[in-house]
Subunit: 200 residues, 2 copies
DNA sequence: GGGTGCATGTAATGGGTTACATGATTCT
DNA sequence: AGAATCATGTAACCCATTACATGCACCC
């Protein structure tokens, strides 16, 4: 009785409510807008668009170009909007957790603390970049004329901001703890080294 | 040239550094400890343990039981520890984002705000439960005698706490915004309804 | 008597990334 | 000249969940 559970088709429908687009543009749009909480690869997008068309949830117009491959511009149909609404009415399932950084940190005792410091710094750097990008997005959305989606896009962006702030605060905290451990570890190896020399 | 990229084997190795365990116990342990940032299903665990054994990264002892199926207790080998260390030395890849709540919120204009309010409340409830569980875990870990892993387990738990706090703060903010929209929407439908009646 | 937990596993299925294939244009 | 970007798509493969299969023990 298995049934499809993923939302990779619905993102496409959702974005097509804004404006008709080609598969490539959908990919770009996903990366530029919902990218920080959802992504799709082209290996998903193109086949899914075909299925959507087969179900009559989108229609496609083909633009011919000299030399270049044809461009298929997809538009959402009324049936597509209904499908989107039905999907929206179903409670979203909680985020499935898979955080490799935390996993490696959890087993961090097996490895020198310096290594972990690098990982945390890397994460913080990414968090800073994303936070900055999100404030830009937020400002841009706030400035432009009000679309029906505007308030919701702001909420989504705000989520990212608050989460990134939390990550950064955690990063600070964790770095100080890790640095203390690193100093400790260096003292130990130093001591052992000296002892080894004397022992000889 | 594809190469395995997932860490589902390494979690098992990592947990087996704490103590030898059976597949079932590993599943339990994952849920109870790293569960909030990593999970594995038994359909992954059992086959992966077999592969690990085939590679000589773990050994298994079979306990026979009357009636019940045999229990295989796995222990990590020296080679297994080396593999774990090698994996730890590789920079963790960033969390891949897939948050259905945010996705539905992003397309929230297509649906009455009350629905979204329900979703956000649901998420907040889960966040509260998890935050509470994490403080319990944190306290328990802090109280017990110092294992080498202790400081790292605390860092991981702390991450969850800060993230949940951020989610809750965002939830508050978002709920007030959504409630405003909901009131607005009700006013509109009311007005339309009245106008409709008068119009008749 | 029937559900839940212990305990192990396999098979089917579904979902998703990556690599490959193609070819023009534009930037460095 | 060579890399990157535009632009489309398919196929191979990997990863992961879910369902199924089995069977005892315990609780209500």
């Amino acid at each position: 009785m298995s049934q499809r559970t993923s939302s990779s088709m619905e993102v496409l429908l959702g974005l097509l409510t804004i404006t008709p687009m080609s598969g490539y543009e959908l990919g770009q749009t996903i990366r530029g807008s919902v990218g920080f909480f959802w992504n799709e690869s082209y290996g998903q997008i193109y086949p899914n668009l075909k299925s959507l068309a087969a179900e009559g949830l989108v229609t496609s117009k083909t633009e011919r170009h000299k030399g270049k491959p044809d461009r298929h511009i997809y538009s959402i149909t009324k049936k597509g909007r209904e499908r989107l609404a039905a999907w929206l009415a179903v409670e979203p399932q909680p985020e499935i957790p898979r955080n490799e950084l935390l996993l490696k940190l959890f087993f961090g005792a097996q490895v020198p603390a310096e290594v972990l410091i690098g990982y945390v710094e890397g994460m913080m750097e990414r968090a800073r970049v994303l936070a900055e990008k999100l404030t830009e997005v937020w400002d841009a959305v706030s400035a432009q004329r009000q679309y029906p989606g505007t308030p919701y896009w702001k909420m989504a962006a705000r989520f990212g901001q608050l989460r990134m702030e939390a990550h950064l605060r955690w990063g600070e905290e964790t770095l100080t703890a890790l640095r203390k451990i690193a100093v400790e570890q260096n003292r130990c190896t130093e001591a052992k080294r000296r002892k080894g020399h004397v022992g000889k």
